[in-house]
Symmetry: D2
Subunit: 402 residues, 4 copies
């Protein structure tokens, strides 16, 4: 769909990305579903080289860092295209959590930190992870955190327990949230510290089995432990106590990336639904597409996806023009709205496919089970709704307690 | 909400319209709810004069006809503001069905027809109606129509039975759909004919009682009969057999008007919901707004209304730039999407108001009952979904039968 | 539908009631919709006589009081039949609020009170009303009540402001909740007092306009004021401070009555939906019933209504066998569950009828607008859900604050 | 919940079953989720012995066959208890597809077939599978079937391609649907044939990867091929051409078993939701259970599960008393109604658990992904709705085409 948000330079890039995803990545999905991410890595490394050759590598990065220098809105549109395959973002080196970590390091790292951590990340030579969530505390309240980093001489000694440290398996370092200043106000207690995963005291306990799959390598979510894990104070990112502020920074654009990825998945699912509806026959000459309920699902999906895309792109455009703070209300809105559109569309696509839809013979069930998380991570729907209501009700003089 | 669609000239107009609607029209609503439209007309005539003085009269008209020369997108935004009160569009002389009739006459009327019918309509001296729907036939199939206009010499003799001829009570003329060419292909059988309501043989049978109210004057929906009703052939609008083509013409912008009016109603309802939530106490110091479900309703309404507005404005913008044909898919989409948002928001607003919400002490129940029609008129949701699916599935090589 | 709950004696009665409602009351509905309840009263009085002659009068009453001595379950099933018409319960003299008042008086009135108030009520010679809800306080918190009844000698002097005093117009007396013991614990402050509406100081301010209609006589909801309204202390019902306890007593069976009435309305709406679907043609030989979405609505409505009926009957049966306290959880459940089924079924029935569905040419739009209240009166859905959750979570050791 | 359907003998059995499931099977679930069914089999065999010792083995069987001789309603209630764990039915030897096959063989097998196939099945010495669905044809139209069984002398030669042949991995024989009489009317073409899986020409192609898991042994769904697979004609079950009739027979009680299993899963999920809600703290002393939305989910789940259970038990009771044909409408209804309740309850339970809910650290995500099929197998929701509507509309004189 061409919208007013597609700039001229993007109009030149989008079809190339779309073709690449479709021709190179779609065919790999079956191997991914029936094998492992690790087994696919050699193939993906080749494709990554081709992406570099095409000049599309790490498109979110500024031009001086080898990226495409896109606005957030432009990257959003590109993210939609990449989102049509679970292999898209990785192949272009703009996959979460690395993309968020790159953005953080780009803005807040010291030159030395950039040299050690950011540069190989931008080149795609290493991967990283982000260790924030703790199993013992509800994720939506960042004040509850038990991991500590105690300064001893020139080192931080980190102790704590994290989970949903996505992609830790094979990562070179973990951006780690830990309490450094326990006596400060709640939002000023934690810091972000760069912890090489080879550090003694850092243990990957397990790749958590999620929806039936442990996953591996990039495609995994780890439980990790820090036990007297010592890193130099030079590994502090930004200032002491700035952890939450940095985390907030990370969230704004991240929301757009996720939501446009959801839009991409939804478009793929709708496309698959249409293809299957016209080809699957209930009786000779009478395809599924002849049924009014299937038609209604297609129409409802079209409407909801369009609505979702417009909302996210307007929000991105607002952030580009006025900054994230000005778009606070919209940033809360898109997360729950788009995650729910995604779930509805996937559900309809699976139901349309019948028995085939629940097998791994299509990509649909992969998303059905793994994107159930979309309504949970980065804050569950209910928290986002309350946050949005709080912003609105403040204008009516009422202060919602969280 | 300031969007990228608010042009500079509109940014100057919108707050004036909003203030006028809020200060002059909101206070009249209670009288309207407890009295009649007719009783309110003298007051509304005064306000219409003030709107003329303010230079905001008939904003949909081209400048040369005394309007504001707005794009469809701009008028959509203005329509949202007017839609916040059921008295808005009338006071600015851009109310359905007159606005659609003005557009038709402007494009297709002869100079003489313009002089007789259009000019007094544009001045607000008279009102008009549109007689298309027939009780015996499902509205969504325009081929089924029994009203005939048989040519005898210089006259058409019209016989037929219509209903939902909105605002016929007090209207000066009816734009009437009748079969003139029964032997043509289905979509080329009917013509539009201008029938003065004073013509012998034109009978207003009744204002149909709808959701408990007969209504009156502009605020009514009539059943009418044509019995050997004779009008000069000069009253033919456009060409013979062009009725459906003209009706389609009327629908495109009409869809935007309606949908932006729905957005305006939804915004008003959400505003009322917030106001009531912060002021109604469940216990001392504990307002309704403290309840998480109320907060969720506010957030969900905010999200849905934003989504609806973006979709409609993008569609309007597309029509402005590329024409209605290019936006066919979106025009089908917005009708059912926005009508359903409207219904959800109204339902939540009423539930928030509790017992008060079902009384006529607020405007909510008026919309609740009268805008139930939004999912039916101009084609029920189900027809729009099928039409949209047909457009989509055609791209996959399948032809949906309607 | 024959269920295991239909006893032998009821199996003999139900078809007679059904036929009566269908043959005598359905034909009166149009006059009711286009006229007033008062205008219909002479006709209804005749029908009431016939009901007496048939031996079906006041079926909820014990046999010794001239009723049928039904169990709550049996009366529920009969209530479903009566609920198919808005005139059903009135014609059989088991209409709310009189039925609730009869039950109260039967259990708690003194012989003299019974003679003056209950007997003419049971005979259908007079009507009554129930004055509890106050506009200034959220109905769901009965502790918030400003109406007072101060004892002066042998009289209570009542001052206060009530609304939604249903059927006050034409009622002979009002069962009135007022605070008599302000210093007691919250739930022991109020009493029920029998106030003849002819008492000086009792004013019917207005019949509140609800969903566009003021209504009249039995079919109305009044705002009333008590200004130094004096009644003898002998008019106290039960004991001082027992008001809330009595109100709770009134609620149990009342919930069953309402919910089975909702089931009756739903069955009627589904029946109308089916009739219309098979008769309304989209094209020659192709009725609405051929559309899959209409079929799905019929199926979903059938499923939901069955579910609703089973739940209510099981609850009634449980109350009959084990008392209301034992069925507390179910009594909370049915109210919100069945009210929502009703709303869904009505919405589908209207959508199926298209434009006709929003007119008063069928009974559907009457229920659509007036039964919107079903999700509000006797406690809004949200309160019932919280109450139910509280009962459940107590078993897990958690005490939900209301 | 004690309902009127719990007979005295069942009241004695249910708590024993519940305790066994809770104490013996719940603790095994984690091993199942993180390991394989096969690895668990030795443990399960021990438990099966204990079930035999307790006299609860194969409770669906008549007493003379060593079962409990339960009515369908009673078995339904027991099935709910077993359904609380994915290991329940297997441990009691009443798991699908074996239970359906036992019922079939019991009614239609020859003495010799019973000896060879049924008796070891009843003893739990072997397992079986049911080969009907074919990947090339929409499952909801049983007329479309390509597998053939051609008679050659004393043998059937079977050729065909099946999938979703559940539990074929490790099964001793497959009840196989194949066209034996291609020239008969569509519903009289197929027969059921007992095919030992050791027969040459029977190939288990793969355990289909479903929702990320291939599964194994009993917990699997196979694709199988028949290539000139020869079995004696004595292996014909019932008569030639009776395949569909037998399949229908199999469906009636099977529907009750499935639906009560769904109820059991839903109860477990609701229980887990409540337990987690009261124990997970958002802040010290403020558990999840304090949030109104969580409370609403608990209440809605309670209501929906109760509704589902009542519907299924009434249907079972009707079948017990009047036969499956008389309950046709209800049998169509319960499938889609209960499967959707299940999905809603699971979704809420997962959302309540947050990140934990999508991991395999609880049983919820197992059901979330594997019971997505509940809305598809045995006919998708949409087919059941159409079937139900057809039954209803027939009473209004309209014949719905499928």
């Amino acid at each position: 769909m061409t919208t007013i948000f597609v700039t001229e330079r993007l109009a030149a890039i989008l079809p190339r990305v779309r073709d690449f995803v479709q021709q190179e990545l779609f065919p790999l999905e079956s191997a991914y579903l029936h094998g492992s991410f690790r087994a696919l890595e050699p193939t993906l490394q080749d494709l990554r080289s081709r992406v570099k050759d095409m000049g599309l590598w790490a498109p979110h990065l500024p031009m001086e860092d080898g990226g495409l220098g896109l606005t957030l809105t432009e990257f959003g549109l590109l993210s939609e295209e990449l989102g049509r395959s679970p292999l898209g973002h990785y192949t272009f080196n703009c996959q979460a959590p690395d993309i968020g970590n790159m953005e953080l390091l780009h803005q807040f790292a010291t030159p030395e930190q950039k040299h050690i951590f950011l540069e190989p990340l931008m080149r795609g030579d290493i991967r990283s992870c982000f260790a924030m969530t703790e199993p013992e505390f509800a994720g939506s309240n960042p004040v509850n955190m038990a991991t500590t980093a105690t300064r001893e001489g020139n080192e931080y000694v980190i102790n704590g327990h994290k989970w949903f440290t996505s992609s830790a398996d094979g990562a070179s370092f973990a951006v780690t949230m830990a309490v450094t200043n326990p006596d400060e106000a709640p939002h000023k207690r934690a810091s972000m510290i760069l912890v090489p995963t080879s550090t003694s005291g850092f243990t990957l306990v397990r790749n958590i089995k999620i929806m039936g799959e442990e996953g591996d390598s990039y495609a995994s979510h780890a439980e990790v432990r820090f036990e007297n894990c010592r890193v130099p104070v030079a590994n502090l990112l930004g200032k002491e106590g700035a952890g939450f502020a940095l985390a907030q920074h990370r969230l704004g654009p991240g929301r757009i990336h996720h939501c446009m990825r959801f839009v991409g998945i939804s478009e793929r699912a709708l496309d698959m639904m249409c293809r299957y509806a016209v080809s699957r026959e209930l009786a000779p000459g009478k395809p599924l597409a002849s049924k009014q309920i299937i038609q209604a699902w297609i129409a409802e999906s079209r409407a909801e996806i369009d609505a979702a895309r417009y909302m996210v792109l307007h929000t991105a455009d607002g952030i580009d023009k006025h900054g994230a703070q000005a778009m606070k209300e919209s940033i809360s809105t898109i997360k729950f709205f788009v995650a729910n559109v995604l779930q509805h569309v996937l559900d309809r696509a699976i139901q349309t496919h019948g028995a085939l839809g629940i097998t791994d013979d299509t990509i649909l069930s992969y998303w059905y089970r793994h994107e159930r998380a979309a309504r949970i991570y980065d804050g569950p729907d209910e928290v986002h709704k309350t946050v949005l209501a709080r912003t609105i009700l403040k204008q009516y003089g009422y202060n919602v307690e969280m």
